[in-house]
């Protein structure tokens, strides 16, 4: 029989203890938009489900020098937040591009960062793939149109989050609570490749939870944008996406962060493209170079070569949009 214990946590400090143990046995419920699918498909059979929605500290957006976003803040709140739209457009645009209005109303920012991959072999009950403790990645020989063009192997998933590339472009960190207290982890160090950790996508230990996201105040002259490409506009994960944040002063790019989504097992920062821009003016030539550099090291699989062209073009378009600002 498949039954589980259902608990509603009320105190933040209780969480590490409640979640101690196997990550698929003790799971956390926030928006539930990913968890419920996995429960119904029986991809996981938890022994305990811990509802964290009643924990007040995890709610809300605090705006000061920079921004602190509680992990339970909904995607819809972030997309609609006036200050985020104004000062951190890349994040507002990314949040607004996620799923559908219904899912944005339920889904949380913490959940968006920790959601599991959408790979059809991972989601399909009949495939015991590497990520589920099986012996192979079915995408290698199988249907891999939507799989990774960077950082793949031995598993070839892509990271599905839209908010993650945007937050990395903004230099954000997450505050993580564990058994030994809280610590901050820069998001650039938060996600891990399958070669480092096969059965999870982040450094989080089973008993750790994200409590908030910390975004530094944008430097003067910062402009940012998020461009997401999906096949179906009504509802789709990114086939490829670009989060770009540029600090432009006196006609030159002082600092650049370009992060790709939907193309690698983790949000994929492209330093080679950033370097093409730094110290240079933003023009057609530097943009073309940056776009080419962004995909220079791509390793497409049999069916996803188009993602290389697509990603280059998206980087180009995102930077052109920022040039026009």
């Amino acid at each position: 029989m498949f039954n589980f214990e259902y608990l509603t946590a009320t105190a933040l400090e209780d969480l590490p203890k409640l979640l101690e143990g196997n990550r698929d046995e003790n799971v956390l419920l926030a928006g539930g938009t990913d968890l419920l699918d996995r429960l119904k498909e029986r991809l996981i059979r938890p022994k305990r489900v811990v509802n964290i929605k009643a924990i007040a500290e995890l709610q809300g957006i605090r705006n000061g020098d920079g921004l602190q976003i509680g992990a339970l803040t909904t995607i819809a709140e972030i997309a609609a937040h006036a200050d985020i739209r104004k000062k951190y457009p890349v994040l507002a645009q990314a949040a607004g591009s996620i799923a559908t209005p219904q899912l944005r109303n339920m889904g949380t920012i913490g959940g968006n960062l920790t959601q599991r991959p959408r790979c059809w072999y991972f989601r399909g009950r009949e495939y015991r793939c590497l990520k589920k403790g099986g012996g192979r990645c079915y995408a290698v020989e199988g249907l891999n149109k939507y799989h990774a063009i960077f950082g793949g192997g031995p598993c070839h998933i892509v990271h599905p989050s839209d908010s993650a590339p945007a937050l990395i472009a903004l230099g954000a960190s997450v505050e993580v609570l564990g058994a030994s207290g809280s610590k901050q982890i820069p998001l650039t160090d938060f996600f891990v490749l399958p070669k480092q950790k096969l059965r999870a996508e982040t450094v989080l230990e089973p008993n750790q939870v994200i409590t908030q996201i910390i975004i530094p105040a944008p430097k003067p002259g910062t402009r940012s944008t998020y461009l997401k490409f999906r096949e179906k506009q009504s509802l789709d994960f990114a086939i490829s996406s670009v989060a770009a944040a540029l600090q432009v002063q006196e006609g030159r790019v002082q600092g650049a962060r370009i992060v790709l989504g939907g193309v690698a097992p983790i949000p994929w920062r492209v330093p080679a493209a950033e370097k093409e821009l730094e110290g240079r003016p933003l023009n057609a030539e530097t943009i073309a170079k940056a776009a080419a550099a962004a995909v220079a090291n791509a390793e497409p699989m049999r069916e996803n070569g188009f993602k290389v062209i697509l990603t280059r073009n998206l980087v180009q378009r995102a930077l052109e949009n920022l040039m026009k600002e």
Binding site: M1, F2, R42, R118, W120, Y121, R123, G124, E126, Y127, Y138, E141, G142, L143, K145, F229, E231, K232, Q233, S234, L235, D236, I239, E303, N304, G305, F306, K307, I309, L310, N313, L314, Q316, R317
Partner: protein, 702 residues
């Protein structure tokens, strides 16, 4: 021959009016099969094969039966013991809750001997490929259709175009899944079924269970679509009945989306090698086609070529290819969207080679008088004259273009029976064993009767969706309206005759002396001798009047034309095709209800866009499974993908009722492909036209 009264004298037909069941649907009162929940009802489910080909060696259900809450289990649901696709029925179970049911499905112990398989057409066609059926080759014998002299036709051609086209397998995506609720009362069986054929399911279930037909009743009051996949009885109906019998309780067995995708139908794919010849004068002289298609373990994967245009000399050679996948079923205009996708593209390719406007070229080769008008109307509405004259010439990455393609359909009406009951209080019931798969059938059953009897719609109650009612056929092939509407009219006419006799008797004159004006009847030339509807019906005293009628010739016709024009914007940086506008000129005959007609045309266009740009059943050749068996990865058009659709109803009421359900989905993919070419200068010969294909085609061109 029977005739409709002129349109200008109609109160309802030809006009727009809301569905009679609309309030029930928006308020949730309308109960679909999925909503049924009689007391004590159990939930049923089917265990399906995870293997694309396997022998079932042993099924052990002992652990299933030990599970508390399980009330019935079946291990003999597969007729031969050899499964030929992943998703085929292996065992079945009924339990008190859906959760226990899900547990129960995991407790069957099935031992399989797996066999080699071929799930895609390319693999199945290879020399030495695993055979789907041991005793049959995967590639069928050729089916040849020909007319005229092909060689002479090509010899006459000044220009010859050759092209290869491909279309994908499309699965049916009705909102309501297939399924049945089976309830026994002694030896009598009542089944609520989400079906396009209550009478067909009745016959099928009676046969499958070897029961007398008069002990089976099938009901379908409301249903969430079918698109052809619910025309036939499914194994699940008989399985639900057997589970219910074993459990001694009603069992509702609805398929989940995955089982739905795998096992209850699809539109076959196609590989089409086409050749078209024409003279400098713009007349097509010859056409040849060699086509392949797979209907999975089924047959009839044909492509209806040649199509639409007048071709004096042609030859079409078709091969069905077996694959280890669920059998195809009729899907909205079987064989036609595939055919028009290629035919209207090769017509455009030829027009370009001849240096002719595609519109002019079509008008020269299309003898259909309705479509001759419809092409011109559509061209005018979309602004064809303003289209991009040189393909791909728009500056910048976003490129716009226009394209067109034709529509066609054949069948008309056929036998349907109906009964009208007139009550002494003046209220009327119409009974007809048809069903409303969402198209508005119930509404016109009421309106045709109201029209003929001169009543208000509120005075008429339409009773359909029950095999206890007079027989009507399956709702498929766009035959429902041309079958049902004439039968209702005929029954209403006979009702009037019977009422006229009663009135004549009352006045002591002969029935021939009676005259109707709306619902009032008068003795000719004696205006004082008059009965209003209520007075007339009160003469029935306590005995309701029951009158039967049937489909008659003259009120419907076969042969439907139509065409569509589309405008697209192609983002050449991302490969995204956005359909911005569709002008759908629909050939409609007598329009029964303008609202539901437009609604069907909108739906056809949306489904056509979905077929052209998104839908694709993806089979993993290594595991033999469908990887995108859910609505996240099997992408269908959503609200944002839906463009402005301008529906032009080309109505000629004198032709009577013609079916409108299928034709509007036929031209969309071909018209979009032609528009994409006009926009970009790149011709896409394979659907769905997904961004990967667009980007790779653009890259190849430059």
């Amino acid at each position: 021959m029977a005739k409709w009264k002129p349109l200008e004298r109609m109160d309802f037909l030809g006009k727009a009016y809301p569905r009679v069941e609309g309030p029930d649907k928006v308020s949730g009162r309308a109960k679909y099969t999925q909503d049924q929940a009689p007391a004590g009802m159990l939930y049923g489910a089917i265990l399906t094969s995870p293997h694309a080909a396997a022998k079932i060696i042993r099924i052990d259900d002992s652990k299933v039966r030990q599970l508390s809450g399980v009330k019935a289990a079946l291990t003999d649901v597969h007729p031969t013991g050899t499964v030929r696709y992943a998703g085929e029925e292996v065992a079945a179970v009924a339990a008190t809750t859906p959760e226990i049911l899900a547990d129960a499905l995991e407790l069957f112990e099935v031992q399989y001997e797996t066999l080699p398989f071929a799930v895609d057409i390319e693999t199945a066609m290879k020399e030495g490929a695993p055979r789907v059926f041991a005793d049959k080759a995967n590639i069928s014998d050729a089916r040849v259709e020909e007319e005229g002299d092909l060689e002479a036709g090509f010899a006459k051609a000044d220009v010859v175009v050759e092209s290869e086209f491909r279309t994908q397998v499309q699965v049916h995506t009705p909102l309501e899944a297939h399924g049945s609720l089976a309830m026994w009362n002694g030896e009598e069986l009542t089944i609520w079924d989400s079906t396009q054929a209550v009478h067909g399911v009745r016959e099928g279930v009676a046969n499958a269970l070897e029961m007398p037909i008069n002990k089976v009743r099938v009901i379908c009051q409301h249903m969430g679509g079918g698109f052809g996949s619910k025309l036939q009885p499914g194994r699940y109906s008989a399985i639900a009945a057997r589970l219910a019998k074993q459990a001694g309780a009603p069992v509702k067995l609805m398929l989940d989306r995955k089982t739905e995708f795998l096992g209850v139908g699809n539109r076959p794919n196609s590989i089409q090698k086409l050749k078209l010849g024409a003279g400098r004068d713009g007349r097509v002289t010859a056409f040849s086609a060699i086509t392949y298609g797979t209907a999975g373990i089924g047959t009839n994967a044909g492509v209806r070529l040649p199509i639409v245009y007048d071709i004096p000399n042609y030859r079409h050679e078709h091969y069905d290819v077996f694959t280890n996948a669920g059998a195809a079923r009729p899907f909205r205009a079987p064989g036609c969207p595939q055919a028009v996708f290629s035919m209207d593209q090769i017509m455009d390719e030829m027009a370009e080679k001849l240096g002719m406007d595609p519109l002019e070229f079509r008008l020269k080769n299309d003898a259909n008088p309705a479509r001759q008008q419809e092409w011109r109307i559509g061209a005018e509405k979309i602004g064809w004259a303003k289209r991009n004259p040189k393909p791909g010439s728009d500056p910048g990455p976003l490129k716009r273009g226009m394209g067109m393609a034709a529509s066609i359909w054949w069948p008309g009406g056929r036998g349907t029976q109906a009964m009208i009951t007139v009550y002494p209080d003046g209220m009327v019931e119409v009974r007809c064993g048809t069903q409303d798969l969402g198209t508005g059938t119930r509404t016109y059953v009421a309106s045709v009767a109201a029209e003929e009897l001169g009543l208000e719609m509120a005075q008429v109650r339409a009773l359909i969706g029950d095999s206890d009612y007079p027989k009507s056929g399956a709702s498929g092939g766009s035959t429902t309206a041309p079958s049902v509407a004439p039968a209702i009219k005929n029954t209403a006419e006979k009702t009037r005759e019977a009422l006229a006799e009663i009135a004549a008797k009352h006045f002591g004159v002969s029935p021939a002396q009676m005259e109707w004006q709306k619902s009032t009847i008068t003795v000719k030339n004696s205006p004082a001798k008059k009965l209003g509807w209520k007075e007339l019906c009160s003469l029935l005293d306590t005995e309701p009047l029951e009158v039967r009628g049937e489909w008659v010739e003259g009120l419907s016709s076969a042969g439907v034309a139509g065409c569509q024009f589309v405008e697209v914007a192609v983002d050449t940086l991302t490969g995204r095709i956005a359909v911005e506008k569709v002008v759908a000129v629909a050939d409609c005959g007598l329009v029964l209800n303008r609202l539901t007609t437009e609604s069907q045309i909108n739906g056809g266009v949306i489904q056509g866009i979905s077929y052209a740009l998104f839908e694709d059943r993806l089979m993993d050749p290594h595991t033999g499974t469908m990887v995108n068996s859910d609505l996240e990865n099997y992408k269908i058009s959503g609200s944002i993908e839906t463009p402005e659709i301008e529906v032009i109803i080309y109505d000629e009421w004198e032709r009577g009722v013609i079916g409108v359900g299928e034709p509007p989905t036929i031209p969309t993919a071909g018209a979009i492909a032609n528009a994409v070419y006009n926009a970009t200068g790149v011709r896409l010969r394979e659907i769905p036209m997904t961004p990967d294909r667009v980007l790779l085609a653009l890259a190849k061109k430059s």
